[in-house]
Structures are given as C-alpha cells and as structure tokens.
Symmetry: C2
DNA sequence: CGAACTGTTGAGAGGCTTCAAGCCTAGTGG
DNA sequence: CCACTAGGCTTGAAGCCTCTCAACAGTTCG
C-alpha cells in the first residue's frame, strides 16, 4: 500500500481553471504556482486521514476521491465525492482543527498541495479570495444541511434514488446514459447510510422497475423522471 | 402571529462581546453599531423563512432560536439551536442563495440585524474579520458532517441520548442538573430525526433506567457517564 | 367551557438489519 | 495453465427497531 507518487504533466498541474484563483493578481498566482506541489496518486492511496494534522489544502486537477468519516465499528460514512475543480482539506485547515475526514483515491488522481502559509497569505492580501473561499464553504454547508434533512426523514429507497441522481449530476454519463464512476455496492451503501445488502436489493428492484440497468458496477439510467419521483424530490 | 417588536435595552444591543468583532478597528466597530438594528422578538416569531431573500445577518444577544429545514410533508428537521453569541443567516447571505432554513424564536430573544453592505464592507477591509468568519463557517461544517455520520449510523436511542448531551453542553443546567431549555417532545423528535412517539417512549425508558428525570418539559440529568455510553460516544 | 395543542400508551405493520450461505470474478502463485 | 484465495456480489430467512394509526388524558388559553 506504499503510495506511488509520479510526476504529473504540466497540463495536469495547471490551476488557472479554478474559479477560486480567478481574482488573484499575476504576482499572487505566480507565488501560488511556486508554492504548490502536484502529484499523481493511484487508486487506493490515502491523501490524509481523520485525526491527522494538515499542512495545506489540495486542488484536484484529475481523478475522483471519496471523503468519508469513520463511524461506529469502523463503518465508513461517505460525505462526498470530489473531482477536478474541487478543493479538499481546507475546512480543517481554516478552522485549525485536526482532519475530521479521510480522503481516499477512487480513480487515479492528480492533486496540487498548497501550503497553509500560502493560504494565509492569500487571505491576508486578497479579500476577493477570502470572499470566494467563504462562498465555497457556505455552499458546502448548505449541501450538508440538505443531506441531514434527507437522511433523517427519507427512507433508504428514496435516499438511494437521490444518491444515484446526485452522482448523475456530478459525474459524466457516456452516450448510453451510463454513469462514468465505478463504485462498489458497499460504497453506495456508505453514501446512502444503509447496509450493503439493502443497496443490492433496492438496485435490483430499480432494475425490475426499469428505472436503471445494471452491468456489474455500471449503472445506466433508463427513466430519470421516474427516479426523481422515487427520490421524492 | 404578528411579530411584536419592542426596543431592547442598550445592554442587550451591545456587540462588543462577540468574538467575531474583536479585531475590528474602532472606526469599523462604530460603523457596525451605526448600521445595526436591534429588536426584541417574542416566542414563536419567525426571523426569516426558508426560501426568502435575506438583507443581512443577525447577532443573537439574548434568547434561543431553532434553525430548521422543512422536509417531507412539512416535517421540521432542526439543524441547530442558537443562543447568545451566535450568528445566523450569514450562510445564505455569503453564498448569495435564498435562505435554506427557517429561524424561529423559542425563548424571547434580542437580535441585531447587520446589513449585507456592512458585512461586505468588513470582508473587503479587514482580513482578520474574513478569517474569523471562515473559521466559524468551517466549524459549523464540521458539526454538520459529524451529525450526518451520527444520523446515518446510529439508532434512534443513541441519537436521542446524544442530543440530550449536546443540549446539556450548549445550554445551562441549574443547580439541580436540570436543563434550562424547554422543548416540546416534537421538537426533540425533529432534532433527533424520528417520530414524536419514539422520543416519548425512549425518554420514559431513560427515566426508568435512572439516566434522567422528567417533570413535564424539564429534563434533569442523573447519570451522565451512563448516558454517554448509551449515546455510544 | 370548549378548542387546540401537547403528551402518553397500545397495537400492528413493515422497512431494514443481521446472519448465513453460496456464487462470481480477478489476481496470485505453483 | 489451473487451482486457490480474497473480495465483492447476491439471495434468503428471521427478527427487531421504528413508524403509523388510533384513542385518550392533560394543559393552556381565549
């Protein structure tokens, strides 16, 4: 499980696409590029662990990661998936707390590490950066609040349908409406907050009801409107 | 249900106790005081509603409010309770979204309204203010993430025990270890994410097990360590 | 004093979890 | 090349936790 770090291409290390950095001055952006460290991580690699002290935050330029908390009996609760354009680990950094989640690579990924010092420098010198950062955290907080309500009030069936739709919106579909992210049944369960067996049974039912089609881990959407109704949206 | 607004005393309108404003310059603090509008709200008053556009955020200098989302069939999901020293409505304001929660007074409260313009002014001119604000949002986000894990993985019994302990830590106990916040069974249920009847039954069990004592809405803590164990903390 | 709201208790139903067993697939090593 | 293993996937059965429905007592308030 040794973390295999390769050097990514220049293109993959480019941060100019990130909204967060749009308002930086040329000088600030140059400093950012100077301070950053970009690496390639293979599937299964852990970027940081719950309880660890972080030295910076990460910008994702390629790949997919899952962010989860470890609950009762070591059961994972997936908080969110992140992909290109997302940033992680900034929460614990800003609140000066230990990491409250673990970040694990699901799909080979390229991450750029930005040191805490650089983050502080930007906050101190560029109010538009702070403002943008505030917006990012606030949006994530809304999503968390929404999720609390869902998980507390909806049935497992409704939640699973909702999670599938959420994945559809956040990750690409190919031309046959098939989800381009490969998750185990257990990961789906850890996202919905239920048992693996329940996910399996419900997926089968969804398939019988012609809402989706299944081919191993490939999930193909057949009837999104109906799925919306099942999700009670 | 017309909102009865009285003028609070000067003391109740004082914001100097708020950590958030500690690093303001004298001039900035003066501006803040000039821009603020403080009012007294009676129990049952609604400060803002889910879906509404907000004109500023509020600092609570007295009383208690519940912040909740409206879920399936209008069932409330209480996100948190706030009290003196807390701020509300800043999330939607900063992310420029409509309010995603409703804020309702539980215990007669005094709130100071700070206009959006003033918030922006502070963000633009005082990086320490922005930084502090970032920390507040980030902490709240951690709490939300923790809550997601709890609600997804714990039983109703565990969650109720945890909520009681959370209330104990956030609101005062009198000298007989009795909780100084009066909630209906339904509100407790809406916090735990369960049915009112379940809360009633479980509270009775807790009482039988000598964990707590009940007198109407008064909850008295008899055995906190045991309650901790029940909560699986 | 009724109306409306809150609290309580019981019964029944059902959604989900857990346990257990077996299948399938991919990767490994002989 | 094939047996072997480990991990993921699937299905069935049993049972419990929790919800819903329903009835009723207590409380507050106009």
């Amino acid at each position: 499980m040794r973390s295999t770090i390769k050097r990514p291409t220049d293109e993959e290390a480019d941060l100019s696409g990130f909204q967060l950095f749009k308002k930086l001055t040329d000088q600030e952006f140059a400093q950012l590029n100077f301070d950053k460290t970009c690496s390639l991580y293979k599937k299964g690699n852990i970027i940081y662990r719950e309880g660890s002290r972080l030295t910076g935050f990460y910008c994702i330029t390629r790949g997919i990661l899952k962010i989860f908390k470890t609950g009762i009996d070591g059961k994972e609760q997936i908080i969110r998936f992140v992909k290109k354009g997302d940033i992680i680990a900034y929460r614990s950094l800003l609140s000066q707390e230990l990491a409250c989640t673990t970040a694990k690579v699901i799909d080979e990924a390229v991450l750029c590490h930005i040191p805490y010092q650089t983050l502080l420098y930007l906050i101190q010198n560029n109010w538009q950066f702070s403002h943008h950062m505030l917006q990012i955290v606030c949006r994530e907080l809304r999503e968390a609040n929404d999720y609390i309500t869902d998980i507390a009030q909806k049935t497992v069936r409704e939640r699973l349908a909702e999670v599938l739709l959420l994945l559809k919106d956040n990750f690409n579909l190919d031309n046959t409406n098939t989800l381009q992210i490969s998750l185990t049944r257990e990961e789906l369960a850890n996202m919905v907050g239920t048992a693996t067996e329940s996910v399996i049974r419900l997926l089968s039912e969804f398939k019988q009801d012609k809402l989706i089609d299944l081919q191993g881990r490939k999930i193909k959407f057949l009837d999104v409107p109906k799925l919306n109704r099942v999700a009670n949206l």
